[in-house]
């Protein structure tokens, strides 16, 4: 049976470091190698950034990070009840013309094996990412 870990974290930049440490520890426990642990840490942190910067208004609320861990894979869901957005209009960054923003989701997709985003304007966003062991 899969193990489930759930973290509820204040939507403030100063707590993303707590999540990063916890993620590393869970991924380490899952048996990933150092590079994969780093990938997972970065991807989860990017999703936390998005929850904080785009989802949640003015530090108002917490967001959730949920880990599901079995022998084959680690799945992580980052869930905010924030603004939400229209995922259909998402545009990949043009790497030949770097801009200050717009790299987060691109990085997540590059580092994880599966990524799925579910967002509803006004209701919030859930991003689910999986890495196979």
């Amino acid at each position: 049976m899969a193990d489930l870990l759930k973290f509820s974290i204040p939507g403030k930049p100063e707590y993303v470091g707590v999540v990063r440490l916890a993620v590393s520890s869970v991924a380490n426990r899952a048996g990933f190698d150092i590079e994969a642990i780093e990938d997972i840490k970065v991807a989860v942190a990017e999703a936390c950034n998005n929850a904080i910067l785009h989802g949640i208004h003015d530090n108002c609320c917490n967001y959730e990070v949920v880990f599901t861990l079995d022998e084959k894979k680690l799945t992580i869901e980052i869930d905010d009840n924030g603004r939400g957005y229209d995922t259909v209009n998402y545009q990949e960054p043009d790497l030949s013309n770097p801009k200050e923003g717009g790299l987060g989701i691109f990085i997540i997709k590059a580092l994880m094996d599966e990524v799925q985003i579910n967002s509803n304007t006004g209701k919030g966003t859930t991003i689910t990412m999986t890495k196979y062991i």
């Binding site: 930049p13 470091g17 590079e35 790299l103 990085i107 580092l111």
Partner: protein, 106 residues
């Protein structure tokens, strides 16, 4: 989640070296932005970002660097990253930033 920075102007080579230690993330990235703006307005010269002691960077950190790169390029100055560790290098490569920010020789 701490970021320490040390900026030294190298008179001989006529550029800034900004040594960064710790983690550049959504919490600390603004400090890097301020430091880069501060030194560039003090002396409008090229900046070498020394990432030897940088253990982590996220997209907000990369955004700050891209912003500085753009502003400096407009004035004809270079921004270059040296000594990036494997994990930081991986992000620079994924995002194509290695092509504009890393040079074999300076």
């Amino acid at each position: 989640m701490t970021l320490e920075m040390k900026s030294i102007f190298n008179n001989e080579l006529d550029h800034w070296t900004l040594e960064v230690q710790g983690e550049i993330d959504v919490f600390t990235a603004k400090n890097l932005r301020e430091e880069m703006i501060r030194i560039f307005s003090e002396k409008q010269k090229d900046i070498i970002l020394d990432f030897n002691k940088l253990s982590y960077i996220d997209s907000t950190g990369l955004g700050v660097i891209i912003g500085a790169y753009g502003r400096m390029k407009e004035k004809g100055n270079h921004l270059i990253i040296v000594n990036a560790k494997q994990n930081v290098l991986k992000l620079l490569t994924i995002t194509g930033l290695d092509k504009i920010l890393i040079r074999n020789t300076f």
